[in-house]
């Protein structure tokens, strides 16, 4: 297994290099460029614009720009944002904790909800509960998440009031109440709406997936054998069926882990959450290539690592799987 992991890590290097070339090329193929944000500036002369381009290194041929970027990136320096003039990694560092907090909390709650829902739905197939869960899953996946976010804000912020204070029941945005000393309750209240908006689709997806996987497993021969041997139903379900049903879900969850880093644009925009999604969107709007490259390359590395982690966990869960 160690040799397998080492081999996969070594393979990741040329893969990341290829990704960097493709991403760099594609970013520059997109119409427009970093100077477009200054287009309406009445005070920027043509000479000033040329000087600005030169000072940002944008007057060099593309391959020179790429090689300069690569030389720095290897040493962990992803350059300076064209927009803010701050190091790209500092921009990421400022926003990563907020994203990890939102996405991580959401992820944990999603798993805590979707796994039991999936199990119950499978065990009580075609029951009223199963129909409700199934229908809500379809709804959760079908409705646009940004619409859900705005509706939740309308209901819980604009309409409903705290009966004791008369203020909105839940906050509209931000991570916490400005000017208030640290309060876990305050942070949790600010988390509810964005997490619900983000998590609804995830719960729908995971619970459906686990339900389907459980149904497949429950019809397997070894489950019939376990029941035939007189094992308690709880042991049959949780020790034999669930463990096998979780295998594909573990793979999917592991591959979704990089989303914890990337955040989501619409949730962060609607709820003014200071995270990575907004950073990426703003960088894309402004063609802020250093920030875009940093976010994409880190995401690519995380995807490679999470795939590897999924394979390792898969082998751990399923003893039939062995890597050379």
């Amino acid at each position: 297994m160690s040799r397998y992991i080492a081999r996969r890590l070594l393979q990741a290097i040329p893969l990341l290099l290829l990704v960097s070339v493709c991403v760099f090329g594609m970013l520059h193929l997109v119409p427009g460029g970093p100077m477009g944000v200054y287009g309406k500036n009445p005070n920027l002369t043509a000479e000033g614009l040329a000087r600005l381009r030169a000072s940002l290194g944008l007057d060099q041929p593309l391959y020179i720009q790429y090689l300069r970027w690569l030389g720095k990136a290897i040493r962990g320096d992803f350059g300076y944002s064209y927009d803010t003039r701050r190091p790209a990694l500092v921009e990421i560092k400022d926003r990563l904790p907020a994203t990890l907090y939102l996405m991580g909390s959401t992820f944990i709650v999603v798993l805590l909800i979707s796994i039991p829902l999936g199990i119950i739905s499978a065990l009580k197939q075609y029951s009223v509960l199963d129909i409700i869960v199934t229908t809500l899953s379809f709804v959760g996946q079908a409705l646009p998440a940004f619409w859900i976010g705005l509706v939740l804000m309308l209901i819980f912020y604009a309409w409903l009031r705290n009966p004791f204070t008369g203020k909105p029941l839940l906050p509209a945005g931000g991570m916490h109440t400005l000017g208030k000393s640290f309060s876990i309750i305050d942070y949790v209240k600010h988390l509810i709406l964005p997490a619900t908006t983000q998590g609804l689709a995830w719960v729908s997806w995971y619970s459906r997936y686990l339900r389907s996987s459980m149904l497949d497993v429950l019809h397997e021969n070894y489950i019939r054998t376990a029941r035939g041997k007189g094992l308690r139903e709880r042991t049959v379900i949780y020790r034999h069926a669930l463990r096998n049903a979780l295998i594909p879900l573990v793979t999917i969850v592991a591959m979704d882990l990089p989303y914890l880093f990337g955040g989501t644009v619409y949730v962060e925009t609607i709820f003014a959450w200071p995270g990575m999604g907004r950073l990426f969107f703003r960088a894309a709007e402004r063609r802020d290539y250093p920030v875009l490259m940093a976010v994409i390359m880190i995401s690519a590395a995380l995807i490679i690592l999470s795939n590897l982690a999924a394979d390792v966990v898969y082998a751990y869960i399923d003893p039939r799987i062995r890597y050379e």
């Binding site: 427009g32 477009g36 500036n41 803010t84 075609y126 409705l143």
Partner: protein
């Protein structure tokens, strides 16, 4: 699916129907906006001028929710939100009021010939600071800071974006702490605005590293009514009173909390509940509803001048005509005039409230040129097109060339209308297209992202490369018109491969206009300049090079408790929302 019981079946069916109703209501397309038959918009009642308070109450805090700026350096910041934030904390030698008049701020007075501030040839400007000015750390603000500002902004590696005029400065002398003598290489008409955007403290750092200064994020020290207490990335900024602000007793507020809320709907909801005291850029469609929110709304003219530009030379050719061929359709002035007759500004701007229409860019401050308003007469437009050889012979509603001036016989009269997407221009563009179709022109939309349309020649901007027919867009005019007038009308400002700067996207190349621009740019005399600009305006109008509309209105709203504020957007980047924040106060 095998359903076990009737009850379950009914429940499933009922839930499915209910959820389908909800889902389809979510997916229902928004109704296509259509211009009203008559203008029936409820005008905003004039805000009564409040009686001046005896002594505004000192203290209190306001919250403003808006986008996060990219930097607080006044000479790197390029976007309006940054200028709004900077207005709280950093001020220049002069400020500008809503009428476009400069007033001294850090400077003791505006330099003129009469007070000895302007030399005979206009190339030497003497600035005198108010005595006793201090930075927010208590250190004196002196003429050395003026000189340092120039050195930093004009440094080739500074990454400054507000460079106008700085590269024309030859040197700055500082004979004493209150005096800075600026020597220009050549006469620079907008010299009053030179240091209007702000002043940089000489302790900020190495000019070559201006882009990376810590000062850009801390503004420590600064010279505005407020100073920056903290900037929490992606979350908020807090401005607190600057104890060294030069006006005694001001600012009245203790602090301004600026929350970064990127979604306008969220900002509006927060305004309704009072969590947001100041909402900049209130969408016009909410004006009627906002009257019930208990807020104060004020309208101002934005700095963005909207107009429809005609491409005069052949589409796709960046050169003017000659040497390029004239545009096959728009090259004929009769066609351009017919288009102007077909359009109606009131309908195009149906989403604007109380629009102010102008006939040219020379419409503000000292340089107002009177021109007759555009006529709207579709029948006359049709007759003019017929006369120009554009006739619909096959009866399909689209004219073809039959004896027209430049296009091949039988060419369909098809024109693209280009604008930038995502910022509310599309409904206006739709009306333009409808009005052109009504006179037999097959108009269609061809839009780009703003960053692309306004980008550089090298980045493929279709405007700069001449890859358009009709361009529906806007531009910030600034205060002094010289730079923009040259950008739009000078033959040497036509963007080409060799000379990619400039915004003369119509490709007008007229020796008379060039000469008038040179005259206006070489004298300090207002009358001479006005005459030159008005000649240009008349020529542009008579040649139908552009169809001028007006300035996009901006609506700002505050909760009723916030007093003492006035909107001032028309002369951005020199003034935005925070321009008079030292006068804001709370009245519960």
């Amino acid at each position: 699916m095998f359903v076990k019981s009737n009850a379950t079946r009914i429940l499933a069916l009922g839930m499915t129907v209910a959820l389908l109703v909800v889902a389809t209501s979510a997916c229902a397309p928004a109704p296509t906006p259509t211009p009203p038959a008559e203008a029936t918009a409820t005008p905003i009642p004039p805000t009564p001028t409040p009686a001046p308070p005896k002594v505004p109450k000192r203290g209190g805090s306001v919250i403003m929710a808006d986008l996060e700026p990219n930097t607080m350096n006044p000479y790197i910041a390029s976007e309006m939100v940054a200028r709004t934030c900077i207005g709280f904390v950093n001020r220049g030698l002069v400020g500008i009021d809503p009428e476009g008049k400069w007033f001294p701020q850090m400077a003791a007075e505006i330099p003129t010939r009469e007070n000895g501030g302007v030399s005979e040839d206009g190339k030497t400007i003497t600035w005198r600071l108010r005595p006793g000015l201090k930075w927010s750390d208590g250190t004196p603000l002196t003429s050395a800071d003026i000189k340092f500002t120039w050195e930093a902004v004009s440094h080739p590696k500074s990454t400054a974006t507000q460079t106008q005029g700085f590269d024309l400065i030859e040197s700055i002398e500082t004979p004493d702490e209150l005096t800075a003598v600026v020597h220009y290489k050549e006469f620079w008409a907008p010299f009053v605005s030179q240091f209007a955007l702000g002043l940089l403290p000489r302790t900020a750092g190495d000019p070559a590293d201006m882009g990376k200064w810590e000062w850009n994020r801390t503004l420590d020290p600064t010279n505005g009514p407020f100073m920056l207490k903290e900037w929490v990335a992606a979350d908020h900024m807090t401005f607190i009173r600057n104890p060294y602000w030069y006006e005694e007793g001001k600012p009245y507020l203790d602090e301004v909390v600026y929350r970064f809320v990127p979604e306008f709907e969220t900002q509006r909801q927060m305004l309704k509940t009072g969590e947001n005291d100041i909402h900049h850029w209130l969408d016009a469609t909410y004006l009627d509803e906002a009257k019930n929110w208990g807020v104060t709304i004020k309208q101002a003219s934005s700095p963005y001048w909207m107009r429809l530009d005609f491409k005069l030379s052949e589409r796709g050719d960046p050169r003017p005509s000659p040497p390029a061929k004239p545009h096959a359709i728009l090259g004929d002035v009769r066609v351009r005039k017919a288009i102007e007759l077909a359009l109606k500004r009131e309908d195009i701007t149906y989403l604007w409230r109380n629009p102010v229409f102008v006939q040219s860019m020379f419409c503000r401050g000292d340089f107002v040129c009177e021109l007759p308003p555009y006529e709207h007469d579709p029948e006359k437009a049709k007759a003019m097109l017929e006369e120009a050889g554009w006739i619909d012979q096959d009866g399909d509603g689209i004219r073809e060339c039959h004896g027209c001036m430049y296009a091949e016989e039988g060419t369909k009269m098809r024109l693209s209308v280009t604008t930038y997407s995502g910022w509310g221009r599309e409904p206006e563009e739709e009306v333009i297209i409808e009005q052109l179709k009504a006179v037999g022109i097959d108009a269609y939309a061809e839009n780009y992202e703003a960053t692309v349309l306004y980008g550089t020649y090298g980045e493929g901007s279709p405007a700069r490369r001449g890859e358009f027919d009709l361009l529906w867009w806007d531009y910030e005019l600034g205060v002094d018109p010289q730079l923009k007038a040259e950008d739009f009308y000078a033959s040497w400002r036509i963007p080409t491969e060799e000379s990619p700067g400039g915004f003369n996207c119509t490709r007008i190349s007229d020796p008379e206009i060039d000469e008038w621009l040179r005259i206006a740019g070489s004298t300090i005399d207002i009358e001479t300049r006005r005459e030159a600009y008005c000649n240009i305006a008349r020529k542009i109008y008579e040649e139908a090079v552009q169809y001028s509309v007006g300035f996009i209105p901006i609506y700002s709203a505050t909760t009723a408790r916030v007093k003492g504020w006035e909107t001032n957007e028309a002369f951005s980047p020199y003034a935005t929302m925070g321009w008079d924040c030292e006068n804001w106060y709370i009245e519960e």
